[in-house]
Symmetry: C2
Subunit: 252 residues, 2 copies
DNA sequence: ACCCCTGATGTTAAATTATAACACAATCAT
DNA sequence: ATGATTGTGTTATAATTTAACATCAGGGGT
């Protein structure tokens, strides 16, 4: 029973919400009344809210609230989760890592449950997520908060970066093409990204394949500036080959 | 209609949740179908989640989640809301204000819906709350994020403060006594508070009466350092008199 | 071993709530 | 003026939740 509830919990956390009919299909031997009671328990535990016909993850709701400015949260959720899980494999303990702002990176942050890490981030959301990890030391760069992408930027943020060292930077990109490289829509944010990439020993870009072929006004990195690109399996093979020629590792 | 939805929104924000029957009683001339549709809009706006029989405020849910480690949220909620509303009266538009971290200040932040303001804060939570106000420019001081009080502190945070000007600082205190003044439990956080108070033209402390008589290790302000104290009506009259002799204004 | 208790689960009927479809009035730009 | 749009109310229908009861398995205590 404990186990079934844990399973439901995980399902909700990953999908954001669940319908009762879904759960019935997922757990055939269990009556709907029991599933209802399980959701009730999850509600009492503060994990989810029950809605008509199911339940929603409270963590997700907070993120939706915070990221309403663009309906990016639930979009490509499965891909983002998959990418985040792969990125997890690149992290060693006791390192200094930088987490860029963005939903994919947020997914990664959620998986950093108990690793001993020094985390610096440009996102207040991600900072709050990381602070739940009792073994992490969390820093945020501060500065002006952009309504658009909920990230900090500006001069003071740049100065902050001068005072820290970064082993691995996990970066997000809004667009990518071989010609223009990794691009973003906000000048100040891209200045931050550039500085982070300069300072980091290793740069990993997390990007789902939907960003491919899109060009945004500001380039923050050329393909040659990064070490690894992590994406989903819809990522075209020929681009992987092109990147590979430059010694880049691409993980799908 | 816009007005009715705003009213419902405020009601939800204050109470955390509503039942449809409550709304029907509250707004007699309106059909339940319309109220349902209003809740639906609030859900689309990211303000609330609809539950069976009503809706819950997403902000409340997030706070429950984020502050599970310390059950401070719902404690003295009524007092905190009352204090925040009084503080609202001290704010003029087009000013630079500082918002300290803390649940009472968070309540205030939630009321800053559309005022044109320059907001600087030491709390990632409050920054995220304030960014919802389309007319606010939001800055956060950045630095090391404390797990204890979810606030930024450290050298870089102090440096940040040197570069900004503050008209009014809204500060929170964990303890107060006439002898030791306003106190807090974290050294770094109190250093930040001290610097803010130095820089601010006007200092307003928001503190519910439960903090009275408590002394925490670090004093960040003596009674003489602040301009106004806002508290609830359980605040003892003789202390108000003592503060009044120093020219302090106390609002209950 | 026995019995009674407890807690988890399943089953059903009743109550509650949500939805969909339609109708109507007010507003607004062409 | 008119057609479109939007907000609203009304109803019937559908869906979901609740409550109450029945069942079953395990867990002490005598």
């Amino acid at each position: 029973m404990q186990e079934r509830i844990a399973q439901i919990k995980q399902y909700i956390q990953e999908k954001g919400e669940v319908k009762l009919t879904e759960l019935e299909a997922l757990l055939p031997g269990v009556s709907s009344m029991t599933l209802r009671r399980d959701l009730q328990k999850l509600e009492e535990m503060g994990v989810a809210v029950r809605t008509k016909g199911g339940a929603k993850s409270i963590s997700h709701l907070s993120r939706i609230k915070e990221e309403l400015y663009a309906t990016r949260t639930l979009e490509n959720m499965a891909e983002k989760t998959a990418i985040a899980k792969k990125a997890l494999g690149c992290i060693e303990e006791d390192r200094s890592i930088f987490l860029d702002s963005g939903t994919t990176v947020m997914c990664l942050a959620q998986f950093l449950d108990s690793q001993k890490l020094f985390i610096t981030t440009s996102s207040p959301n991600i900072a709050l997520e990381c602070i739940k990890n009792p073994n992490a030391t969390v820093n945020a760069i501060g500065g002006s908060l952009s309504r658009e992408n909920l990230s900090f930027s500006g001069i003071t943020a740049l100065n902050f970066l001068d005072n820290i060292n970064i082993d691995i930077a996990f970066m997000a990109a809004s667009g990518f093409s071989m010609k223009n490289g990794f691009t973003g829509g906000d000048f100040n944010e891209c200045e931050i990204k550039k500085r982070v990439i300069e300072k980091a020993s290793k740069v990993i870009v997390l990007m789902d394949s939907s960003k491919l072929g899109k060009n945004l006004p500001f380039t923050f990195a050329k393909p040659g500036d990064i070490d690894t690109l992590i994406s989903d399996d819809r990522f075209p093979k020929d681009i992987i080959r092109q990147l590979g020629r430059g010694g880049k590792r691409t993980v799908l």
